[in-house]
């Protein structure tokens, strides 16, 4: 046992990553953009070196996970796998159903960008399936070689840590699978098992800890938040001479806005936040942010842990109750919207204390779209005549949730908003948008600098499609409704020779096009 323990000791896995931080820069080549997206040949172990930093005890323990690799890790891991198989029908059915047809093999952006065969969705699943077969099926117990079943060894765990952190849980593979196998479910289970034996991921777990403690991913306390919002009010008033407010902890407001904390600081996110505030202002609907629940993001989904996801979400319910609001509106954030739309009612419902006339939760795009439809906003698209805009469908909105009252609203509503605010709009290639959209390359808890090589390479399919519309239609900007997409593209587009400021918020376009002079 000690031999096993030594091989995958937390410190060792970590050393590899931490070491590279001190080694100047991680060396890698950005894939070249071609005329079309081609499927790479299999290049074994091309990304075997890619591993995010491992969580330290201080990141693990507040989430209810052991601080370091436990001694009987093999036993604990198998017990956890059995537990998850009994709790999640998805995992149980998906472990049995795959026929290795290969339909998913050329669908993952990380495979397309790296050629590492373990980044093919089926191969990523097989990292767990081969262990499942060995311990949980007759075929694997009796004929392991025949069915490709293996023992849960330290090599397997190392592979899990590496390749379950090369999946952004974007669900693109699930669109094409004849059995609807969603690799995200398996990645989540893999990460939960890893965290349970003491090998969690630093980036996600540290952030979840901050939300539990302070209320947002940045660890931004109330005074700093209040100060920031005050600054924004001054900035906007200076800019358009309208006293647009950014209320915080205002009891009795109609709407609680919950938005990713990146919206408070990061570019281009903050221009989206300004856009929301302008919409609220012009519509004359009272709203507030909460310092207790100052985060829409919920990284609990990334690590696949129900209890942590629920605990993060519960702050929002509590804030809504404390502030006595009637509605909850969620800002532009992909995975946050999936958790809010698809899971909140289950995790922290029922929302019987809110106004039943509105959907709970409501997306800011739905909110603005309704106002546009009812004539509640005055908008002049000429304000954005300097731009030719395309739209990046974010994975979690496209394949894990919905906007509006009919299926597919997640595609039409954001485009409707952009067209209302902007005269020049063009879509990217049909096999790269809507349900076929490619992940930005930074989703699913991978938006960390220790995975920069993976992030750049994973952005290849989107960069390829964007390059095409730049050349064919002179596209100048790509709008998105996800904080992770925005951060990721700002960082990786320059690697492909595109400007970091190409990526903008949908509500920046809206905010810039709203006409205020008649009000004041």
């Amino acid at each position: 046992m000690s031999r096993h323990g030594r091989m995958i000791h937390r410190g060792q896995v970590a050393n590899r990553g931490e070491g590279s931080r001190t080694m100047a820069k991680i060396e890698f080549e950005t894939p070249a953009l071609k005329d079309w997206l081609s499927t790479p040949a299999v290049q074994r172990d091309a990304m075997a070196h890619s591993k995010p930093f491992v969580a330290k005890p201080a990141h693990q323990e507040p989430l209810g996970f052991p601080g370091e690799l436990v001694d009987n890790w093999q036993e604990v891991a198998l017990e956890k796998m059995g537990d998850l198989l009994g709790r999640y029908r998805s995992l149980q059915v998906f472990m049995d159903s795959c026929v290795k047809c290969g339909a998913c093999t050329d669908k993952c952006h990380y495979y397309l960008g790296t050629g590492d065969p373990k980044n093919m969705p089926v191969a990523r699943q097989d990292l767990m399936r081969k262990v499942y077969r060995r311990y949980f099926t007759l075929a694997g117990k009796w004929f392991p070689k025949l069915v490709g079943a293996v023992e849960l060894s330290e090599d397997v765990i190392n592979d899990w840590y590496s390749y379950y952190h090369q999946c952004s849980e974007c669900r693109r593979c699930s669109v094409y699978c004849p059995y609807g196998i969603d690799t995200a479910e398996i990645t989540m289970a893999g990460r939960e098992i890893l965290a349970t034996i003491g090998v969690g991921q630093k980036y996600s777990n540290e952030i979840i800890g901050k939300v539990h403690k302070i209320g947002n991913n940045l660890g931004l306390p109330e005074p700093a938040l209040a100060d920031t919002l005050e600054g924004l009010e001054e900035e906007v008033e200076e800019d358009i001479n309208v006293p647009v407010k950014f209320p915080l902890d205002q009891k009795g407001a109609d709407v609680l806005l919950v938005t990713p904390s990146a919206d408070f600081f990061a570019e281009p996110h903050v221009d989206g936040l300004i856009g929301y505030a302008k919409v609220f202002h012009q519509a004359g609907i009272s709203w507030t942010l909460s310092s207790y629940a100052s985060e829409a993001a919920n990284f609990g989904i990334f690590i696949g842990n129900y209890e942590n996801m629920q605990k993060v979400a519960e702050r929002i319910r509590q804030a809504a109750l404390d502030l006595g609001v009637k509605r909850i509106v969620v800002g532009e954030c992909g995975h946050a919207w999936r958790v809010a739309y698809s899971f909140w009612n289950t995790l922290i419902g029922p929302f019987d204390f809110l106004d039943p006339a509105y959907p709970v939760p409501q997306h800011i795009c739905e909110f603005t779209n309704d106002l546009l439809a009812s004539g509640g906003l005055k908008i002049d698209p000429e304000a954005n005549d300097d731009k030719v805009v395309t739209f990046h469908d974010s994975c979690n909105v496209s394949r894990g949730s919905r906007l509006g009252s009919t299926p597919g609203g997640q595609f039409t509503i954001p485009r409707n908003l952009i067209r209302s605010a902007c005269n020049h709009f063009v879509d990217m290639a049909p096999d790269t948008i809507h349900e076929h959209t490619f992940c930005c390359g930074g989703g699913g808890g991978l938006l960390t600098d220790d995975l920069i090589e993976l992030r750049v390479k994973g952005a290849l399919p989107r960069a390829q499609a964007l390059q095409q519309v730049i050349e064919s239609h002179g596209v100048t900007h790509m709008a998105a409704i996800c904080a992770i997409c925005k951060s990721q593209f700002s960082k990786v587009l320059p690697h492909y020779g595109m400007g970091m400021d190409m990526i903008i918020s949908v509500h920046q376009l809206i905010g810039d096009a709203l006409v205020f002079n008649s009000d004041h």
């Binding site: 299999v42 009994g86 709790r87 999640y88 029908r89 998805s90 149980q92 059915v93 998906f94 049995d96 159903s97 795959c98 290795k100 047809c101 290969g102 339909a103 093999t105 050329d106 669908k107 065969p117 093919m120 089926v122 191969a123 097989d126 099926t137 007759l138 075929a139 025949l146 069915v147 490709g148 669900r171 699930s174 669109v175 094409y176 699978c177 004849p178 059995y179 609807g180 196998i181 969603d182 479910e185 605990k311 519960e314 509590q318 109750l321 739309y341 698809s342 899971f343 009612n345 289950t346 959907p359 939760p361 496209s398 394949r399 894990g400 949730s401 919905r402 299926p407 997640q410 349900e435």
Partner: protein, 245 residues
């Protein structure tokens, strides 16, 4: 008669293992909760819509069509060839033969050929495409070999060395009526039946479980109505709530 008795016992055994094994899996799938609403969206919002989605998935292989045209073509040929060929075989188990089974006899032969070609195409793909070769375990190749052997031995009896189908029918009816009859000791027939026995035996323990699995896949069989309906798993608890605030 010895051969007939051996195969009769084997068929009963295989049938029991097939049914019990499959039943155990179906029970397990249906008893395991799906704790979160996870349809791959856009997804239907009604039960009728969900049924239609699963129907399209099972009958037209809708998702596979989106994913890979070659796999779809070969896979569809194989599955529906096999279905029609199987229906054609009902004539061995019914007396008098049902009229619709008589009607499809001609189609059943072409179906056997389609099944063979589809399987051959799938195997070729598995061997030729580097990505699919990488994900293939020995059992994935053997499964195709087994199905090809079943289709091949069947077609060989149709077009090559005929077997005594009157006796085969007597044997098959004997199985159904629990009145065992002798089986012709014909090499091709013995092979054909043995391969079918193996297929029945491994069904509940192999990737053939995709057959029940597709009906239980939460990304396909859930409605997109999470805002309207709470969906709480039996094991899920409310979060710890402080009453003071």
């Amino acid at each position: 008669m010895l051969l007939g008795s051996i195969f009769a016992i084997l068929f009963y055994l295989a049938t029991v293992i097939f049914l019990v094994g499959l039943g155990e899996r179906i029970l397990r799938y249906s008893r395991t909760p799906a704790p979160l609403v996870i349809p791959t969206t856009p997804a239907p919002t009604t039960r009728t819509g969900v049924c239609a989605r699963i129907f399209r998935e099972v009958v037209f292989f809708e998702s596979l069509f989106k994913g890979s045209k070659w796999s779809w073509l070969f896979g569809w040929l194989f599955h529906f060839g096999m279905l029609v060929a199987l229906m054609r075989h009902l004539r061995y188990f019914t007396e008098p033969v049902w009229s619709w089974v008589i009607l499809i006899q001609w189609a059943g032969v072409y179906a056997g050929i389609a099944m063979f070609l589809g399987l051959a195409g799938l195997w070729l793909r598995r061997l030729m495409v580097d990505r699919i070769r990488y994900i293939s375990a020995p059992s994935d190749h053997l499964m195709l070999a087994l199905l090809l052997a079943i289709a091949g031995s069947g077609l060989a009896m149709k077009y090559g060395q005929h077997t005594d189908i009157v006796s085969v029918k007597a044997f098959a009816l004997g199985l159904v009526r629990f009145d065992w009859q002798p089986l012709p000791s014909d090499g091709l027939l013995i092979l054909h039946l043995s391969f079918v026995l193996v297929l029945m035996l491994i069904f509940p323990f192999s990737k053939l479980l995709h057959a029940p699995g597709v009906f239980f896949s939460p990304t396909r069989n859930m409605r997109d109505t999470p805002r309207e309906h709470r969906h709480v798993a039996p094991w899920a608890n409310d979060p710890p709530r402080s009453s003071s605030e």
